[in-house]
Amino acid sequence: MLIPCPHCGTRPVEEFTFLGDATVTRPTSLEPSSMDAWMDYVYLRDNPRGDYTEYVHHSGGCRAWLVVKRNTDTHEVDSAVATKTMKAKT
């Protein structure tokens, strides 16, 4: 599999480390009532067949964390964007 790193160009998957679902958001509340949200954030993940958005670290390259959209069924990679760039936009 090839991943198009926005900084390095297209590189093979062995240069990358996968972390999992990138659509989860770290809660900001530290109130006990937010524990359910924290549990979801830390533990709850879908394992879809098909489109998936996940955190990928270019650990064997520029060391940027990316958000990669790919299809777990066809292995097609749709896009790879640096998390820093994404956050800056939102």
Partner: protein, 959 residues
């Protein structure tokens, strides 16, 4: 014709004489021969015994699909089993041995299996060896292995080297026959980067042996002209002897180049094989088509071969399969064999065409063809049979990513699926049966830009076929899969017994397994299975095509990364100094760390004990360069560290170090270390050796994905600094001799000071007053290139205090004496509270792990927490791993209350002691527990105590 060598023609060099041995007997061949062609030319057809029935077998094909002529090639450590004689290029001194026979190829005792074949029908493994279960390992399996094993592997280490390499191209052309050459030339002329790969020893594909006429010349010279042109172009890479064995995600292709398999021993510095990973923008499959056998009685008698293989041997190698041959076909292409054989002066005994004049019922002969019986009752003498059951496009690679091939009625074959423009099939691999179509499809596929050039003129041979799958009238065995000895009758049987699905039938009959993966037999098998199941071939479908197309050696995949080179070695900047001091090294991850420094006659325990005592009595020097060091800068560096660590760093004074504890987001302890503030916006973090890389990734994630708004920059400086721990009551006096213009005392350098200094007259250094040993101690960091020099200078300075170098064993003893937690306790299950560090968790800020660390289960007082442990019998040696039970409890894991994490011999207390995790342990100091070691099968009593075994008041630290 002398013997079976045709007098003229072909691509062999008759002026060379190569001597080789097959089963101990000497033969001669020529440069350009394969092992198979040289044997055929020597009149040898019997090349192996079959897998199950041990029937005599000869060569069927002239290429990669060969199921029968498998040999052990070479001897000793270079021996390679299951090598296809059809692919082995002959060299002088070649040694090959037949397989699957005992005691010899001519007389095989196990051929009796053939007579007892009623018990060897499909599914025989399942049926025969089911019961009793206990017989499997001791009786059935060894028996099956002896009876049916393929070749044997050498047990000696392979002396040759293997390589890996990447390649990139605009167009990868797989196969160098007419269509492949056209595609390569067309793309190359337009300036594209082209790789042309072919599994054969020479480029040219079918043009190396088929009589064709193209562009007013013969096919061979047409091919040679193009190959010469391609060879002259800088944008073209020609890769003969290279099998493209797999197609992977991203249009990446795996290739195996047999760099030096065609010589006895690779030249110095050259690999035997090279594994290629080819990144292709586009690729074309020009692998051609595979001729299918026909299924009739005795279709495995040596001398029966594919019609195309017979003319391949005659035309390219000058090797005649027989002196009088019969041709059996269901299609037009075998006419070429008839014509070519006649041209070579070989007698055609009979031509049997299922569309016209019947079928061969049985071939007569044991170790060679003697005659054939036809369906009309006639009988012909002959010594070889050419068969052609049609042509199957070699679609394998196109199906490696899951697409299925599509049945085509007109050519009676599976066609490659459409997998998009990145990878297309051309020529006969795409079902084109006319030469003109092949040439044209190559040109079209090679046109990456601009206008399509014209197609060269050529002579076409019309193609027609009438599917014919099985001569059911045959009375002798009709084989579908030669390598697995599966016969035509096995498939209806599989269907009757409920294994009619194509994937189930494969497993039940073993059709399509082993080294050839059914390249020749699968389509026949599917057709016969479909008929038995009352389905169409299209409905039946194929089994799954997977990489590798042909077998690839483990050596090629391992490449140069074997033995000592399996993984890189990481050495510290003090490595040379440690060697001078007689260090014994230990691998810690990739690092080589000095473990102990034995003097004559000392074992590790004596050495490490002496190092501890000398350090605690005077001064010791330890290489701690492997600890992770991360330079953290930026306006928000402090705020960022507050997120990363559970304790607070933004309030740390400049010039001070602080012990920090990091949690994972689930609240479990992740890592620890001291982090210093060098300037307002500049910190230096240390991590454990084991977690250095993980912490770096974690920091990168936390910043880039969670808090990118923080102005913080970080980079690993682990390798920039050589870092030394100088510990012991004489550490200050030792260091003082090196330091420039600074008096070391509690005012200038108090406990937890961190400062930039210079030493030895101007050398940049960083000094930290921190301690892992519990002694008055420092860590001194100097730029790595100066590490050895500075370590030597410290040894010199400490000489009067009898300074010793100490290694990680001594370090470990001292930290356990002091109850400092390390890897054994920071083991991915413990909370800050478990480690006795619960108070470090700030309640005033958010940090990674804060919320989850508050969960009920994470703060349960019954949790296992760190305690000290010592055996009640002080002379006893204890080991880590033992489980802790109440003293009165039965030794059983049902009564488990915790376990011992770390143990060490304590040179200071003169006994073995350790750190353990024990349920509610802090309230149980003084309790005697039972230690149950189920693994070693014993139990003993031990006393729980404070984790700090030695100097509990920390007097030495502040001395």
């Amino acid at each position: 014709m002398t013997g079976f060598r045709i007098a003229n023609g072909g691509l062999i060099d008759r002026s060379t004489n190569l001597t080789f041995k097959f089963d101990g007997k000497s033969f001669k061949g020529h440069q350009g021969d394969t092992l198979a062609s040289a044997l055929i030319a020597s009149g040898v057809h019997l090349m192996g015994r079959s897998f199950k029935y041990h029937r005599p077998r000869g060569v069927i094909s002239a290429g990669a699909s060969e199921p029968n002529a498998l040999v052990e090639l070479r001897e000793g450590p270079r021996k390679e089993a299951n090598t296809r004689a059809t692919m082995v290029e002959l060299y002088d001194g070649l040694i090959a041995t037949s397989q699957n026979r005992w005691p010899s190829l001519e007389n095989d005792f196990l051929a009796i299996n053939s007579l007892a074949s009623s018990i060897f029908v499909a599914g025989f493994y399942y049926k025969t060896f089911m019961w009793p279960k206990t017989f499997w390992e001791k009786i059935y399996e060894p028996l099956i292995r002896k009876a049916a094993g393929l070749g044997t592997a050498s047990k000696e280490a392979d002396p040759d080297t293997y390589e890996k390499s990447y390649a990139h191209c605009d167009l990868l052309v797989i196969g160098s026959g007419p269509s492949g050459l056209m595609a390569a030339r067309t793309a190359a002329r337009s300036g594209a980067r082209v790789i042309l790969a072919d599994e054969g020893s020479a480029l040219g594909g079918s043009l190396l042996f088929e009589n064709e006429e193209i562009d007013g010349t013969n096919g061979l010279s047409f091919a040679q002209t193009i190959i010469a042109e391609l060879a002259s172009l800088p944008n073209v890479t020609l890769m003969p002897r290279t099998t493209i064995f797999g197609w992977f995600d991203g249009n990446i292709f795996g290739g195996l180049e047999r760099v030096n398999d065609h010589v006895a021993v690779p030249p110095a510095f050259e690999p035997r094989q090279r594994y290629w990973r080819i990144h292709a923008k586009r690729a074309v499959l020009a692998a051609g088509a595979e001729e299918r056998p026909l299924v009739f009685g005795g279709n495995d008698v040596p001398g029966v071969m594919l019609a195309s293989a017979m003319r391949h041997y005659a035309n390219r190698y000058g090797a005649a399969a027989g002196k009088s041959i019969a041709v059996f076909t269901n299609n037009n292409s075998a006419r070429r064999t008839v014509g070519d054989m006649k041209d070579h002066g070989i007698n055609i005994a009979a031509v049997i065409d299922t569309r016209k004049n019947g079928k061969i019922i049985n071939v007569k002969g044991g170790k060679g063809v003697k005659s054939i019986d036809l369906s009309d009752g006639s009988h012909f003498e002959c010594d070889a049979v050419a068969m052609s059951g049609g042509w199957s496009p070699i679609v394998n690679l196109m199906c490696h990513r899951g697409a299925k091939p599509i049945w085509n009625e007109i050519i009676a074959a599976f066609m490659p699926p459409d997998v998009g423009p990145q990878f297309r099939a051309i020529g006969s691999a795409s079902g084109k049966m006319l030469l003109s179509e092949c040439l044209n499809s190559g040109i079209v596929a090679g046109t990456l830009k601009g206008k399509t050039p014209p197609t060269p003129k050529c002579k076409d041979e019309a193609f027609a076929i009438q599917p014919f799958w099985w001569v059911k009238e045959s009375t002798s065995k009709a084989f579908i899969d030669y390598q697995n000895d599966a016969t035509a009758k096995d498939l209806p049987l599989a269907n009757r017994e409920g294994y009619g699905h194509v994937e189930l039938a494969k497993r039940y009959t073993t059709t399509g397994m082993a080294t050839d993966q059914g390249k020749l037999g699968n389509v026949n098998a599917i057709a016969i299975l479909a008929e038995a199941a009352g389905k169409s071939i299209s409905e039946m479908g194929t089994t799954t095509f997977r990489p590798m197309y042909t077998p690839v050696s483990f050596g090629a995949f391992a490449g140069p990364f074997t033995g000592h080179h399996f993984q890189p070695v990481r050495k510290t900047p003090l490595h040379d100094w440690a060697i001078e001091q007689g260090a014994v090294f230990v691998e810690t991850g990739l690092w080589m760390r000095s473990s102990w420094f034995p003097k004559a006659g000392e074992d590790w325990l004596a050495s490490a004990s002496r190092e501890v005592k000398a350090t605690r009595a005077g001064v010791g020097l330890c290489d701690v360069s492997t600890l992770g060091k991360i330079d953290i800068q930026g306006k928000d560096a402090g705020a960022f560290l507050d997120k990363i660590y559970c304790n607070t760093f933004s309030t740390l004074a400049i010039g001070k170090a602080r012990y920090g504890l990091m949690l994972r987001e689930d609240g479990v302890v992740f890592d620890d270390g001291t982090t210093s503030r060098l300037a307002d916006d500049h910190y230096l973090m240390t991590t454990t050796t084991a977690n250095a890389a993980r912490v770096m990734s974690h920091i990168e994630f936390c910043h880039q994905a969670l808090w990118p708004e923080l102005d913080v920059q970080y980079v690993s400086v682990t390798e920039q600094w050589a870092q030394m721990a100088i510990a012991g009551p004489k550490s200050r006096a030792t260091l003082q001799k090196l330091v420039d213009g600074l008096t070391l005392n509690d005012e200038t350098t108090p406990y937890l000071a961190a400062k930039d200094i210079t030493i030895l007259g101007g050398l940049t250094a960083r000094l930290f007053r921190i301690s892992f040993s519990g002694e008055h101690a420092y860590e001194l960091a100097v730029p790595a290139d100066h590490g050895n020099m500075v370590a030597r200078a410290i040894m010199q300075a400490g000489q009067e205090f009898e300074i010793v170098p100490y290694g990680v064993e001594a370090l470990s003893m001292m930290r356990i004496e002091k109850g400092h937690v390390a890897g054994g306790e920071l083991n991915g299950t413990t909370t800050a509270g478990d480690l006795g560090l619960g108070k470090m968790m700030s309640t005033k800020k958010d940090f990674i792990g804060r919320m989850m660390a508050t969960r009920e289960g994470m703060v349960d007082p019954a949790r296992q927490c760190v305690v000290g442990i010592r055996p009640v019998d002080r002379t006893m040696k204890i080991r880590s791993g033992g489980h802790l039970l109440k003293q009165s409890d039965r030794p059983s894991m049902a009564n488990d209350q915790g376990y011992i994490c770390s143990v060490a011999w304590s040179p200071m207390l003169d006994m073995w002691l350790g750190l353990a995790l024990l349920s509610n342990g802090r309230a149980r100091h003084g309790e005697v527990v039972k230690v149950f070691d189920g693994l070693r099968g014993h139990h003993y009593l031990a006393e729980i105590c404070d984790p700090v075994h030695f100097d509990p008041e920390n007097r030495r630290l502040h001395a």
